[in-house]
Symmetry: C2
Subunit: 108 residues, 2 copies
């Protein structure tokens, strides 16, 4: 059994000025929003959900990106409403959000 039921990793990588990266596309705000929403929903902790900072996940072409394990579901998102939907549907009710998933061909 997985120590966390859902372990979410947000790319917060900040590249050199002039280079594009998730951090230039609201990744930190999305992470903060997700962390707060998971805590507010009472989902945080062992056996529940962990929202984690991560370095570059190397799927930059789809950025900003996050991945949920152990189910290996990858997301891209635009705003806090997207994050709310991921929290409510996937992290709370176990139904991954199809419309926000990263196509399998998206890489660096």
């Amino acid at each position: 059994m997985s120590y966390y039921k859902h372990h979410v990793f947000f790319c917060l990588n900040q590249r050199e000025p002039g280079q594009d990266c998730c951090a230039n596309h609201g990744a930190q705000a999305a992470f903060d929003h997700c962390k707060q929403a998971v805590k507010a929903a009472g989902l945080a902790g062992p056996g529940g959900v962990r929202v984690n900072k991560a370095g570059c996940l190397d799927r930059c072409a789809g950025g900003p990106v996050a991945v949920v394990y152990p189910e290996a579901v990858w997301y891209t998102f635009v705003d806090s409403a997207d994050i709310d939907e991921i929290v409510e549907s996937h992290l709370k009710n176990g139904r991954p959000v199809e419309r926000l998933q990263l196509p399998p061909t998206v890489g660096r």
Copy 2:
């Protein structure tokens, strides 16, 4: 199918001076060693292995720690020989290393 066959996250969290953390116990050196060993073994990339930086994984009592997804296997390690064993046995040959696994009760 998981975008990465094995996605490894190392806690590289650095706390304030005086507070213990994985970064004070060789986490960066272990990450660097793992990254290099995975690359040298030709395992890196989509469909293969990704070695990733992460923030605090909140299992500090067992630190330094790393987790491998999607199989959700958690490790604690002492030196580069431990990392070599994880790379060879688990990441290359699919056999998790029992002796280095974090007991399920270890938390923050």
